[in-house]
Amino acid sequence: MTALIEVSNLTIRFRTDEGLVTAVEDVSFTLGKGEVMGLVGESGSGKSVTAKALMSLNARNAVYGEDSRITLHADTGPVEVLKLKTARELKIVRGGAISMIFQEPMASFAPAITIGRQMVEQLQLHGDMSKARAKEISVEMLDRVGISDPARRFDQYAFELSGGMRQRAMIAMALSTRPKLLIADEPTTALDVTIQAQVIDLMKDLVNEFHMGIVFITHDLGVIAQTADKVSVMYLGRLIEEGPVREVIRNPKHPYTRGLIAALPKLDDLDAPLTPVAGDIPSPLERPAGCVFHTRCPKILGEVCRTALPGDTQVNPTHRVACHLYPPGGPA
């Protein structure tokens, strides 16, 4: 598979009143063309911040690590995303080659202009296109994401739509420019499952049609199981496990991944109590030394976990985990 985007040693800190806060630390992964990567993990573990970095969209108080690199293989050749500075340079990633569906649908629509005008403006920004043609494409996309009466919705404001419709309008807007990479941050949480299934099918069609790569952030492991090729798991800013979707869901290695899967409410046993991963998440201001999960880990080995950062171990060529239970070269 040819690489679409390569992330290496990504570290992101934020300047705050209380000092530098580390949100993402030393994260590396590669996404191929036409590949769907599911990104899961604790709330606040850095998923959205990582995703925004791919488009260089983080807030101005963000500080990137010195050796952090994000390379996008665009049609015109490789682009170093974090080196882009001016608005003109950034145009290639923002909405041209990469589109993002944001976690907060309200935030991505300007309140005072209609959904349709916003879609048309975005399309015209990226390509030479008549207004009429842009409208045609927009209405067609609204229709494809399952919005009824798309021509009428086109003239409505975001606040007039239900949560799920707003989310679909945003998906339509993100897909209308036919990006090479789609970053979808919790795109289906506000949708009922029947519409969710339809949106997922649409995304799969587009992967096939345009060979689009997708980074799919969601808390819904069922959605991941149904869509992703591979899964990456984050905890407190670190990528702690990555592998093919079947393996990670059926045979998770990291104690946190195991806890996450055990916490899922199961439909076949309504009497089973819900079992959260025990313990409190450390404050981002007090990152634990050693393994970041050691304050809550049920399998903690002792001193080594409290002091030494576990490196990556390949349990097989496509499945890696960062945990002292799996020493490099040892049996997995």
Binding site: V193, I195, D220, Q226, P265, I281
Partner: protein
């Protein structure tokens, strides 16, 4: 839980005027003749198509959008309010008793206020406490219930994770001592572990403080695990309503069945197995005649296109609005 209802609605409707231009303003029936009882102390789940009116129904019950038809009552001990006409001091009193937990724990909290001030704000706005000491005492008591400690109270929200922030929102919603809480997608943004934690907390509060919840969610596994009762909406109408176990064991309405079969399976080899709905999703401003689900229902017959089914009460507590539910129950395996 008791049998006495806290909320009773009868043909409750909410309409919006939308759009402009050629056809004038169209009427959008967001909530259309909904009659339901929410029993005191229950955890009442509300699910359904996106855009079916769940949020609008919740907001109408909190008096955040005007009702345009029908009635709604709130009965709690000495008070019996007609929510359609409530105003003045009674409305003020009702605002103490009914609260909303926001969906988004990030957006809902002001970044410039300490956690203590965020939780205290409703008390101050509603003038429920006289002295700072009294406010502090109430904030501390509710924070402890939500497992936030004194040190947390001095901090600003950005120092907290999603789950902790959601607990801050919950503390804020609870501080005025409400009896009725609308939780609209309030765990959707949380990872499954924190979600489990917050749900356990809500259930505990339901038991200990006798709070009644209207729990709006798209996550059917969460609803199955937490709610006592489930109501299903489609295009503004209530189409099914029953105790949770009954609905999940044997759904009666074809839309509910489709909903359950679309729940994404955790097994990657199950891809594309669920029953898919096809057909036109109707426009809420131009609703189909007859059963509103007939444009997508796999069991539509001629009668469905012209005659709207009423919500039936077959006597077993499992209500459904479909002409064919009895024969479908006999011919299909649930």
């Amino acid at each position: 839980m008791t049998d006495a209802p806290l909320i009773v609605t009868s043909d409750l409707s909410v309409g919006f005027r939308t759009g402009s231009g050629l056809f004038g303003k169209a009427l959008l029936k967001a909530v259309d003749h909904v009659s339901l009882d929410i029993r005191k102390g229950s955890f009442f789940g509300l699910v359904g198509e996106s855009g079916s009116g769940k949020t609008t129904l919740g907001r109408a019950l909190l008096k955040a959008v005007p009702m345009t038809g029908g009635t709604a009552r709130f009965r709690d001990g000495e008070v019996d309010y007609d929510l359609t006409t409530l105003s003045g001091p009674s409305l003020k009193d009702y605002r103490k008793r009914a609260q909303l937990i926001f969906q988004d724990p990030y957006a809902a909290l002001s970044p410039r206020m300490t956690v203590r001030d965020i939780i205290a704000e409703p008390l101050e706005v509603m003038g429920l406490t006289k002295t700072r000491e009294e406010t502090d005492a109430r904030v501390r008591a509710i924070a402890a219930k939500c497992r936030l400690n004194l040190e947390h109270l001095r901090r600003f929200p950005h120092a907290f994770s999603g789950g902790q922030r959601q607990r801050i929102s919950i503390a804020r919603a609870l501080v005025s001592g409400p009896k009725f809480i609308v939780a609209d997608e309030s765990v959707a943004a949380l990872d499954v572990s924190i979600q489990a934690d917050v749900l356990n907390l809500l259930k505990e509060l339901q038991r200990d403080l006798q709070i009644t919840f209207l729990f709006i969610s798209h996550d059917l596994s969460v609803v199955a695990h937490t709610c006592d009762h489930v109501a299903v909406m489609y295009l503004g109408r209530l189409v099914e309503s029953a105790p949770t176990r009954r609905v999940f064991a044997a759904p009666r309405h074809p839309y509910t069945k489709a909903l359950f079969s679309a729940i994404p399976s955790l097994d990657p080899d199950d891809r594309g197995r669920g029953q898919k709905l096809t057909g036109e999703i109707p426009s809420p401003t131009n609703q189909p005649p007859g059963c509103k689900f007939h444009t997508r229902c796999p069991y539509t017959i001629a009668r469905c296109r012209t005659e709207e089914p009423a919500l039936e009460h077959p006597g077993d507590g499992h209500e459904v609005a479909c002409h064919r539910w009895r024969e479908l129950q006999e011919t299909t395996v649930a």
